[in-house]
């Protein structure tokens, strides 16, 4: 009997290698779990017919293009769209022999922090189905937390991997910008989008990152990456841990979250790390505002291709312009429309310098501020999300409140830096996420620190109600 709730991908690999279970048995076990629990959780938008590989199965967020498999990005405008090519990450996963379980739910075009913006209905948090799993990659995070996939890939623009991982009590890595190919990923904001793993453990995360990382000739913004090291050390000797004041004291951080993070900072000391305070004042003051200029600006342009001419939804309405207007009006939900309008405005003649141009300058300041911090520290530590999982509907009518969910994840995204979420405890019975941010290409450092903390914390990633 395979316990998909408990089984890590690394364990599953061992079972397959030793021949204790067959690839088909493993795949079937996850399919059975999906049959049992996904009606309630709605992690998946579509399911694969059968395994197309002999390795550990995987779920892919539905913004990741998969040849021959419907890819909707959570949007009505792409309902029924079947890509004619594989994204580079989907191809790499396939080459590694990882069979696809299905495509997971996402906020429409990855715009959101709760999956409530999905055109196909929200996913639910396995710890408490009345609450959100976070977003936009809530489907992938909830699937891994609920044992509906051993691991999954998500995409992160301003926190869409780290924040749902935090709210679902699992591990999520947003890699350094440029380490994982964006080719074939439905674009939201090109200068910020990154694909990364969502897993139960840090070692699983490193294993999956190893599969997807590396330069891709199809994506000019990718770079060669250092070889991935599987973390083994259980101490933090010699590691310099910085505690950015603003990221730990920001308004809106729940007391339970703060306490769990503070306990973990103490644990760092106990494990031999040097811990010191640091400051990222502009990153936190201006990060969110800048993000909401740059990301919508790029989105307004990236989403222009959905015009009904070549694929996806087409609503005819007397002539070309009528068709484009009606197609986009009926195809896009409120959040993409909101961001397209914000972005088009920020790029308009006469406003460009004040908005988009200025935001790019501040982005440089944010990157510089982080660079300075990394002269003294190897990793920066803070909560990932100011809150634990919130109830469905609590912020759905208040975009600004929803945007604040990403207050702590956005600064490092703006700086192009890698960030790892690991669960660090419970608050009111719900998981609290810890964010570790490193300098560019320092994924190995994050894995090392994350792994040591994970061992020491002994957090049980199986949701209490499912144990």
């Amino acid at each position: 009997m395979i316990d998909t709730l408990r089984l890590t991908a690394e364990d599953a690999m061992g079972l397959l290698e030793r021949g204790e279970v067959s690839p088909r048995e493993l795949w079937d076990a996850y399919r059975a779990a999906i049959e049992e629990r996904d009606r309630e959780l709605h992690c998946y938008l579509s399911l694969a017919d059968g395994p197309n590989g002999e390795g550990v199965p995987i779920a892919l967020k539905d913004v990741i293009g998969t040849k021959g498999v419907e890819t909707t990005a959570g949007s009505k405008i792409l309902k029924g769209y079947v890509p004619v090519y594989d994204s580079t990450v989907a191809a790499r996963v396939k080459e590694a022999g990882l069979p696809l379980l299905g495509k997971t739910n996402t906020d429409e075009f990855a715009m959101g922090s709760s999956t409530e913006n999905s055109a196909f209905g929200p996913s639910h948090n396995p710890w408490d189905p009345t609450r959100v799993p976070g977003g936009s990659g809530g489907g992938s995070a909830a699937a891994v937390a609920a044992g509906l996939a051993p691991w999954a890939l998500g995409s992160d623009t301003g926190g869409s991997i780290k924040q749902p991982a935090a709210l679902c009590g699992i591990v999520g890595l947003r890699p350094t910008y440029g380490t994982v190919s964006r080719y074939g990923i439905v674009a939201f904001a090109s200068s910020l989008d990154q694909v990364g793993p969502t897993t139960k453990t840090v070692r699983d995360c490193a294993l999956l990152y190893r599969v997807i990382a590396g330069r891709d000739p199809m994506d000019s913004t990718t770079a060669e990456t250092p070889p991935v090291e599987l973390p083994a050390a259980e101490d933090l000797k010699g590691v310099r841990v910085g505690v950015p004041r603003e990221l730990n004291e920001a308004e809106g951080i729940e007391p339970g979250v703060r306490q769990a993070v503070e306990r973990t900072i103490e644990l760092c000391r106990a494990l031999g790390a040097e811990v010191g305070e640091t400051s990222l004042p502009r990153s936190v003051d201006y990060g969110l505002a800048c993000y909401y200029l740059i990301a919508p600006a790029e989105a307004s342009s990236n989403l222009a291709r959905y015009d009904g001419v070549r694929y996806g939804l087409r609503v005819t309405n007397g002539g070309y312009h009528g068709m484009v207007e009606r197609t986009r009006d009926e195809g896009f939900g409120d959040e993409p429309k909101r961001r397209i309008m914000l972005g088009a405005y920020a790029l308009s003649a006469g406003y460009y310098e004040a908005f988009y141009g200025q935001a790019q300058k501040v982005r440089t300041v944010i990157a510089d501020e982080h660079r300075a911090a990394f002269e003294r520290f190897d990793v920066l530590i803070s909560p990932t999300s100011p809150t634990v999982a919130f109830p469905l509907g609590a912020k759905a009518q208040d975009p600004l409140a929803m945007y604040l969910s990403d207050l702590l994840t956005i600064p490092s995204c703006m700086a192009g830096l890698p960030g790892l979420n690991i669960p660090c405890g419970l608050s009111e019975g719900l998981p609290v996420g810890l964010q570790l941010v490193g300098p560019q290409f320092a994924e190995n450092t994050l894995f090392r620190v994350g792994h040591a903390l994970e061992r020491a914390l002994e957090f049980d990633y199986v949701p209490e109600r499912l144990r």
Partner: protein, 469 residues
Amino acid sequence: MSWEAVIGLEIHVHLKTRTKMFCGCELEYGAPENTRTCPVCLAHPGALPVPNEQAIEWTVRLGLALGCEIAETALFHRKNYFYPDLPKGYQISQYDAPLCINGRFAVPGADGDREIGITRAHLEEDAAKTVHVGGVGGRIGGADYSLVDFNRGGTPLVEIVTEPDLRSAEEAKRFLQLLRQTIVELGISDAEMEKGTLRADANVSVREAGETGYRTRCEIKNMNSFNFIARGIEAEIERQIGVWQSGGEVVQQTYDYDASSNTLTARRTKEEAEDYRYFPEPDLVPVQPPPGLVERLRREIPEPPGARVRRLESGLDFETATGLVTSGRDRLYQAVVAADADRRATANVVMNQLAGAGVDPDAVDPDELAKLIVGRETIPRGTFAEAIAASGDPGFSAEKYLAEAAVSDVSELDPVIDRILADNEAQVAAYRGGKEGLLGFFVGAVMRETHGKANPKVVNERLRAKLSA
């Protein structure tokens, strides 16, 4: 009152790279519709552009030939607008950081060179081709339906913008001809206006002689040959002078030139200016041409055509010199002249006879052609024409043709000449009465009689002598 034209050009050149600007689709003119496409040039979700390095190198090469500064860091920008021929909803182009800026290109004229400023030359992707079926005038509004062929979409396109430095329609035409020749010699484009691989729009205004400012300009589009460009600009200059002279005011406007009726038709004006919401293309990194590459390319730039016209002009007239250079035949001309052939005769042979016989000037051995031209009067005309037609063949030798000497022997020619004069008494009388133009008639008759084998020079001399006797 005398008027002066002020003209600037905007030129688009299709580069003949093997593949498109941002994807691996092969470029093939005339391929069946929508057979040269991929997820990138069809803008499928997630597809990303990868720049064509050859196109970047060729743009640098063109920029250098136009005397431009090459940017250390150039950027691609997105130009956002909706149209069915633009699948991404934006064109990847260059905006405020183009590859090439601040160039100069010399245009020789009958009374000296004029330096035409090159504002910029930048690289972008072409749009796809649309056909609007039904409705009025092939426009999208009111069409029953529209068809799009994405084969052309994503073709690398260089846009060259000149300063408003040109002063006449003829000069604009000459500029374009010399520019075209430069482009062809660089090997980066066929630059054929009929195929649309070279397109030019003109901005035209006029002012009174002595004025320093510029008056309102109009744009003329849709001129698809060098002659139409000259005529279109000329028509616009006349129209504007007419407007000013009748006390009116020129209004900024875009016109389409219709060659068949030599008329300009105003385009429908847009109610508001387009806002393209330019921003740096985040899917691409900045372009930084390595200085070593730029220096190497600079050394490979051929001599500018303007300078070559100037050099040829000594010994030839300006028109012929320009004709030789813009037709790409000046190198052969020079080599033949260097081998001691007569300038005028060589120019005539190279410009007219070789072209008439469809001989590729690059295939001709100049030394052999020179021998042929030097000896042309000693061989029959028919033989000379045969030799010209064969002069581009591999291993061509003039000797065989020169061996076939024309009949120059007076003792052989005189009886023929005498017979012809005797048979045409009336014409002889007319010639002697002053109609000396009849000489050609007699020459022709002798040539016919000798089956083209007589030496025309000798025939001429003998006829003249006998007729004036």
